[in-house]
Every structure is written in C-alpha cells, then in structure tokens.
Symmetry: C2
Subunit: 148 residues, 2 copies
DNA sequence: TACAATTTAATTTTACACAATTTAATTTGA
DNA sequence: TCAAATTAAATTGTGTAAAATTAAATTGTA
C-alpha cells in the first residue's frame, strides 16, 4: 500500500468494522424495540440466557465492558423487571445477576434478531462461521498486551 | 446451526463485530490522545484530509453519522482549532467544513494509527484487502431497504 | 494480627450515537 | 406566485462507552 493510501478512509479496517457494527445495531433496533431492550441489553440477555446466574465481573469479561457501562444498564434492566441484582453474601463486593421470569421469557421472541442479519447477508453458514472465527482471532490479537 | 445455538453469544456475528470495533478503538486511543483527538474525530479528519472541503451532510454520508452526532463533534473540533464551520452563502442550510493549518498538520503524525493495527494483526496486505471488501459488502447488504 | 495491596462494583466525567423534533432555508408543483 | 413539501443542520432526550476515581470488601504478607 502506498503511504498516501494508508490514511484513506476506505482503507481503514477500523472504519469498516465500526460502520458495520453500527449498521447491524440499526438493523436490529426495531426488533429489539419490540422486545423492549436496547442492543447492549440484548447482549447482556444473551449471556444470561446461556448461564443460570452471573456477576457484573463475569458479564464484563464476556462482553468486554466495564462496570461504568454495565452498572447503569443492569440497574435499568432491573427496574424494567428483566433481572435481579443481589449482593453475594460470601463476598459482598460481588453482585450476582439473575434473570426474572420476564427476562427468561423474552428468549422465545429473540430468534428473529440474529435471523434478520443472516437473512440480510444471505450467506452460507460456513462463510459466517469462517468470518466469525476470523473476527474472534482478530479480537484476541488486538487485545494482546501493548508492548510499549 | 441448531436452533439453540442461534442465541449463543459466541455465534453472534453482531457481537464479534461490535467487540472488535471497540477493541480497535481502545488500541488507537493512546495514539489518538497524543494527537489530541477522539476516535470519531479521527474519522472526520480522515475524510477531510482526503477532501479540500466538505459539508456536514457529506461527512454524514461518508461516515454514516447524522448531524446529532456530527454537529457537537465538529463544534468541539472547531473550538480545538482543527477546522472551520462556515455557512454556505448560496444555500444557507449548508455548513461547509474545512481544515485549519493545525488540522492539516496532524496528518503527518497519523500514520502510526493504522500502522498500529496492521502490526498487531500481522496479516498480509491481501488478507486485509479481502476482509475490507467483505466488510464493505456486508455494510451495503445490511443497509439495504428493510422489506417489512 | 495488622496493615498494605488488590479486587469488585459504583460513581463521576466526557464524548459519542441515534431517534425524534425543531428551525430555517430551499425546492417543487399547482 | 405562493403554499406545501423537502432538505440541511441544530436541538432535545436517552442510553451507552470508557477513563479516572471512589468506597467497600477481601486477600496477602510480615
């Protein structure tokens, strides 16, 4: 790549990833509105649908989000009746997160969300899996310790 | 894919894209801090470094951002001395955006930013180009009119 | 045992994102 | 020509993100 091209917007991997992420969020929004949740809340629910119970720390690890983002989000989800936040008795720093019935029930109506993207892409499952693996590998690479 | 797997976080393309985008932003942050700009401001600058002059509308088209996001951002960049915002005399709805000398000078120190990602990924240029093309195609696919 | 170090979540601050709405300017069509 | 429709940017309101900081709890070590 010529040096001049290095700073062209269309050559920025970061921008394509960023823009795609936002476009997917936008695609999902009307469907998520029907569920009554925002996109990051949907991601929280995905984790909780997989696991009986979680903690703020664990959700943060799975979603690469810190408690600055999670705490207000979880509070709003608690207020909305989707989950409960309980201080762990054995270690009071830890806050356990568990779904309510209401939160669990939402799962049944959530299949349309990933399906909408797969339909839009019209790709073979294999292609999607390969891309997923690529992206996950990249996340690990980017997350590596900064040598500075 | 089994129906049950459809809602697993690790199978969500949307999450991988979202997480990667945020990790790249995080990687860039210290470098951008030295330039004195945020990541979205960096994207604005990339467009302006390519073009003599732009408008809020055009920046929005290139970056898929609306004026709710752009206007405050551009205002802060104007205050920081990076660019100017001028009402177009022929169509007063239009606001022209142009770089100051200070804004232009930043370009020379910006090469390290995309380079940091390429170095972290250690990929061949061809691989990156192919991935870029894939992601750009996906953006178009997701952006297509909603058939509802 | 006492205290320093570390951990967990909460809080504070700043900057986005985006839907909805508003304001002002321009274009369109009768 | 003029009102209706459309456009461009600004504003409003809500919800993230993330760095920095704080408060409380727990762990590690002398």
């Amino acid at each position: 790549m010529k040096k001049d091209d290095l700073l062209k917007l269309d050559n920025q991997l970061c921008f394509s990833v960023y823009a795609l992420s936002r476009e997917i969020t936008k695609l999902y929004r009307p469907l998520l509105d029907e569920l009554g949740v925002t996109y990051p809340q949907y991601l929280v629910l995905l984790v909780l649908w997989e696991e009986e119970s979680s903690t703020v720390k664990h959700l943060g690890e799975r979603l690469y989000l810190d408690s600055g983002t999670l705490t207000p989000m979880l509070k709003r989800m608690e207020i909305a009746g989707l989950l409960r936040r309980d201080r762990d008795k054995e270690d009071e720093r830890t806050v356990r997160i568990s779904l309510t019935e209401k939160g669990e029930k939402l799962r049944a109506n959530a299949y349309c969300i990933p399906e909408s993207l797969l339909k839009r892409l019209g790709s073979e499952e294999q292609e999607v899996d390969r891309l997923l693996a690529t992206l996950r590998g990249m996340i690990q690479q980017v997350q590596q310790q900064i040598p500075n």
